[in-house]
Every structure is written in C-alpha cells, then in structure tokens.
C-alpha cells in the first residue's frame, strides 16, 4: 500500500513538473487574449484600440498612423480573414505599412484567431454589415455588400451585323452604416453612333445579415436615363433584391432578382435573375478566383423570348492588398436572342483601402 502511494505521489509530481516546464516555454501561457493584445499590440494601437494619442512621441515616426480599431466602419468592413493574414504575416505582404510586424512565429493560428475576435469586439458594429460577407464583385450580378469603389467597365458585343463597344465609369460611396449611393456614366461606340449613352443613379441598403450563416441581404433601386435617342429609349426604374451566401471558406454565391421597368411602358420590361459562384483559390488577395455567372431574363411581354446566358469569368487581384483588381469574362448565349458573344471586363479600385498605386 505504501509503495503504491509513493508511486502515485511521484507520478503526480512528474505531471506537475512537466506542465510547469511546458508553461515556461510558452510566454503566453495563462494570458487572456486581452493581455496578449496589451503586450503585443497596444504600443502602437493604443490600450483600447483607438490608436496613439495625439501627443505620443511615437506618432511622428509612423509612415501610416496605426488604424483606429474602435471605428465601427473600419472595424466592420474588414474581413476577419484579412486581419488574420496581417497579424500572421505582417503589413508589407498584404500591401499595408511595413511597420506592422508579423507575429506568425510568436502566436499559433488559434491564438491569432482569438486575437482577431477580440479586435472585432473593440467597436460597436451591430448596425454595420460585416466585411466577412463582402464577396467578390462579378460582371453582372449586383454586389450585395455596400461599397466605396470606382470601376472602369467595358463590354464588346459581337453578333452577325453589329459590333459595339461600351465603356462605363462607375462610382459607389457608402452612406451611414448600411447604405450606398452610386452613379454610372456609359459611353457607346458602334457604327452608327459614338457618344455618351446612358447615366444611371442608384441606391442600395443592407437590410440584414446573419454572420453565423454567412448570409447578407440587400435591396436597392436604380434609375437608368438614356442620353441619346431619348425619343426611342425610355427611362427605366430597376428595383432589386440582392443576397450573398458563403458556401464554404473559399466558395461564395451572390444572386439578384431585379426588374427593368420602362417608365413609359412598364409592361415592356422584364424580370432578371442573376447569380454568380466564385471559388477563391488562395487566402492571399493577389491571386485569381474563377467564377461562373448565369443570367435569365424573363420579359413581361409574352411574345418575347426568355433569355439565358452564361458568363465564365476570372477575378484577378492585382495588388498585394487586393484593392485593385481586374475581371474579365465571356458571355455566351444559351437561349433566347442570339449573338456571337459579349466580352466583359472591368478594373476595380476599392477606395477604402487607399491609393491606387499602393501595394503593387
């Protein structure tokens, strides 16, 4: 009996000794994520995440002022996955300031995930759609997430007799936590005409989201105003419902239901259903993501054909931070009015992430 007790006590001693040695090797052992933040991040981001005080002696030494993590717009629009990458790999590989260090050799992936969750809690973001639901923009499907973006879009159409080139400038600006206003100006060039073709004004509002289910739903309305042949072309109102759904870590779906309603004769309009599936091949923003988009147009007028087209496309992040991207695709008619093909492309600049020339 005495021998077995001695063995038990010795075994317990070994367990305690071993765990003590392990804790001694891990400097974060026993630390809360808040304490980790205070040790690793607060020197530059402030004890509460609001950045450096205006009289801090460190402030003049920074190329870029450390981000205010308590700003709800900034905090909410950034996907948690992006913050994970910045903490693990540092700022420079992600197109951000090189003064942001990498901590991937200090913290494991779970610790970094916990730290990101803590950073997300530093701002009151309940009213804002989370950036984790900000999926890639596609060629035709209206993006569900409100944005600050500028795009230059092009479309080349070819059928038996007509070729045309359309160039559009698009500008979107967020208003408040959930809304976005936008403007588009299009130029059309074809054999019989070359000039400004159409201006479009739009408004979008994020109705709600469910982060756990990776879902976002949005409503909006656009007004399309033709600038030439106004006696033949009617102004149109385009109400829509847009939604986004994350299917897996690297697979997303976005879809719209919208209606083109000519002001002169709404019965000549249609309902359009579009959807796009994107596959993100890499967690790094400067990567390519293939997508497949489909569009169904159902005219209100029974005599007109239902149209269906497919649009395979490629999304290419050009900068290290992914804030400038190029998308190109080919629209192929499957049913309805025929044409040879339509080539689509656009160059995108996410205005919220800084200068166009940053991070190349």
């Amino acid at each position: 009996m005495q021998r077995s007790l001695r063995f038990v006590f010795f075994a317990q001693f070994l367990v305690v000794l071993g765990s003590s040695l392990l804790r001694a090797q891990d400097p974060t052992a026993g630390m809360s994520v808040k304490e980790i933040y205070e040790k690793a991040c607060a020197s530059c981001h402030g004890i509460y995440g609001a950045g450096l005080a205006t009289d801090s002696p460190l402030l003049p030494t920074f190329e870029v002022e450390p981000a205010d993590l308590t700003d709800p717009l900034f905090n909410s629009r950034e996907p948690a996955a992006d913050w994970f990458m910045v903490i693990k790999h540092g700022g420079r590989p992600l197109g951000l300031s090189s003064q942001m260090p990498a901590f991937g050799q200090v913290f494991d992936d779970q610790q970094i995930s916990d730290l990101v969750a803590y950073l997300k809690s530093l701002a009151h973001t309940d009213s804002y759609p989370p950036g984790d639901l900000n999926f890639l923009r596609s060629i035709q499907t209206i993006k569900a997430f409100p944005e600050d973006e500028a795009l230059l879009l092009g479309r080349f159409e070819s059928d038996d007799e007509i070729e045309s080139l359309s160039t559009t400038f698009y500008y979107a600006r967020r208003v408040g936590p959930k809304a976005q206003v936008e403007v588009k100006l299009s130029h059309l060039a074809r054999e019989s005409f070359s000039g400004l073709h159409e201006v479009e004004l739009g408004f979008k509002y994020a109705l709600g989201h469910d982060l756990a289910r990776q879902a976002l739903w949005t409503v909006g309305i656009e007004a399309e105003i033709p600038l030439h042949e106004r006696e033949e072309e009617s102004d149109q109102v385009v109400p829509y419902f847009a939604f986004a759904k994350g299917l897996a870590d690297n697979l997303t779906f976005q879809g719209n239901v919208l209606s083109h309603l000519p002001v002169d004769d709404p019965g000549q309009g249609n309902i359009e259903l579009t959807g796009v599936l994107h596959w993100m091949t890499s967690p790094w923003p400067r990567s390519f993501s293939p997508g497949i988009e489909g569009k169904v147009g159902i005219p209100y007028e029974d005599s007109q054909e239902v149209s269906f087209s497919l649009l395979p496309q490629l999304y290419l992040g050009l900068t290290r931070g992914g804030h400038v991207a190029l998308v190109a695709g080919v629209e192929i008619p499957v049913a309805g009015p025929s044409y040879d093909y339509k080539l689509h492309w656009f160059l995108l600049w996410d205005l919220a992430d800084g200068s166009f020339w940053k991070g190349w």
Binding site: K39, C44, S56, P57, G90, R92, S98, F103, V106
Partner: protein, 246 residues
C-alpha cells in the same frame, strides 16, 4: 624469403605493411599540401577620427520599461570615439577575395537589451544564421530594411523570444530598427566571405586569415560615409592599414 628480404617478411607477418604504406602516403600528401597552401595573414589597423563622441542623448520616455533599464543617460552610438579613433566602423574586403568561403553554421547574435541593439554594427556571412533575442521585459520588433535581401519585420512582444534569420545575398549595409522604440537602430553587413571586422571605440580592428593578394578594403560608417584603400597582402607579412574620417 620474399622480395623485400627478412624485413619484408617480418612486416607482412606482423600485419604492419599496410599501415606503414598509409602513413608514408599521408605524410607525402601533407608535406605537399602545406608546402603549397596559401598562407593566411592578419590584417589590422585603425580608423582615425578628428571629431568628438556623440553627445546626443537618447530619450526613452516612450516606454517607462526602457527608462527604468538605465541608471545613467544613454547616448547615441552614431559617433563613438576614443583616443582619436572611431568605433562602429564596418571594415571589409570589397574586392579581391577568391571564392565565397564556407558558410558558417554558428549563429551571430543580435541582442535587444535595455531597449538598445547590441552590437550596434555587426557582420554576418551569406547563409549564416542571425539569432535575434529580446532580453527586455517589453515588446520589440525587428524590422530589417533590406534592399537586396528580402525586407522583414517580426514582432517579439515577450522577453526571451528568439528568432533566427538568414540572408541569402551580400548586402552592405542593412539597417535594422524597432518601430516601437524608434531610437533602436543596428546595422548589418552581409558578405560572401569572412573577411570583415567592426572597429572598437578606439578605432582598432583586425581581419584574420586573409590570404596573400591584392585587395580593395572599404570602411563604412553610418553617418560619416565610406573610405576605400587598396592594399597588397604578402605571405608571411602581417599588414596594417589606416582609414581617416573627418
């Protein structure tokens, strides 16, 4: 009796023939090698300076931990001068070294202690580990502003953390800084060969094991610039050189 007589028979019988042949062969090879091996010379010298020690005091008030680490004022190491010499000068053979030399596996250490990098100027060979350690009870980051090698920036938020880096290309010099404590600066020279040194506070330095030959030596200082000298190193003749910074 064998062809080598009784002696040969004796050696064969005692199993001594093979070891003797091997010894004689090795001796011949060693004699030939040492007779023709390049002799290694010690090149020493002094960097002269007619200015004064830096009197720029470093203010560590951005971090109370750093302030508490020093009882006496801390001064910038940009100009370190005693006895008419200049310290923290990186002296290296810029031209004339045949080959690249072997890559050492022993790490060179860069320490962060009292919120100061130690040493302030150091050299490392291409492929040689650089071990960087945080010896302070406060966080630091190691931001290497390399232009030829890959720039890196690693956080070391806790005391005792170590990180090892390797530079893949020669580069003179790489500035290392801590973005949390902006006064913390060090400089690293990365070379293909081991023929470099850093002068002490009195400007003295020595480069060991330099083969005889003709070389271009360069002395680099972070503020005062660069000086170059051509030197002939002869076998069996230790060589001294001087650099002057005004």
């Amino acid at each position: 009796m064998g062809p080598f007589g009784r002696g040969g028979d004796l050696m064969k019988s005692q199993g001594l023939l093979l070891p003797l042949v091997l010894m004689l062969g090795w001796g011949a090879w060693a004699w030939g090698f040492t007779a023709h091996a390049p002799q290694k010379i010690r090149l020493s010298g002094k960097v002269y300076f007619n200015g004064q020690d830096s009197d720029r005091r470093i203010r560590m008030n951005a971090d109370p931990v750093c302030m508490s680490a020093h009882e006496d004022p801390v001064y910038s190491e940009q100009i370190v001068s005693q006895n008419g010499g200049l310290g923290n000068v990186f002296i290296y053979v810029k031209e004339g070294v045949p080959g690249k030399g072997t890559r050492p596996t022993t790490p060179v250490e860069l320490e962060q202690k009292g919120c100061v990098f130690r040493p302030h100027v150091l050299g490392v060979q291409v492929g040689q580990p650089l071990l960087i350690r945080n010896d302070d009870p406060t966080g630091h980051n190691i931001h290497a502003l390399a232009r030829v090698n890959k720039e890196f920036n690693f956080g070391q938020p806790f005391q005792g953390l170590e990180i090892t880096q390797v530079f893949k290309k020669p580069e003179v010099m790489i500035r290392i800084k801590c973005d949390i404590h902006p006064w913390m600066v060090a400089y690293i020279g990365v070379l293909e060969h081991p023929h470099f040194a850093v002068s002490d506070e009195s400007g003295n330095f020595a480069i060991e094991d330099l083969p005889a030959g003709s070389y271009l030596l360069e002395a680099w200082h972070e503020q005062l610039g660069v000086r170059s000298i051509r030197v002939e190193v002869e076998a069996g003749s230790p060589t001294t050189v001087e650099f002057r910074f005004d």
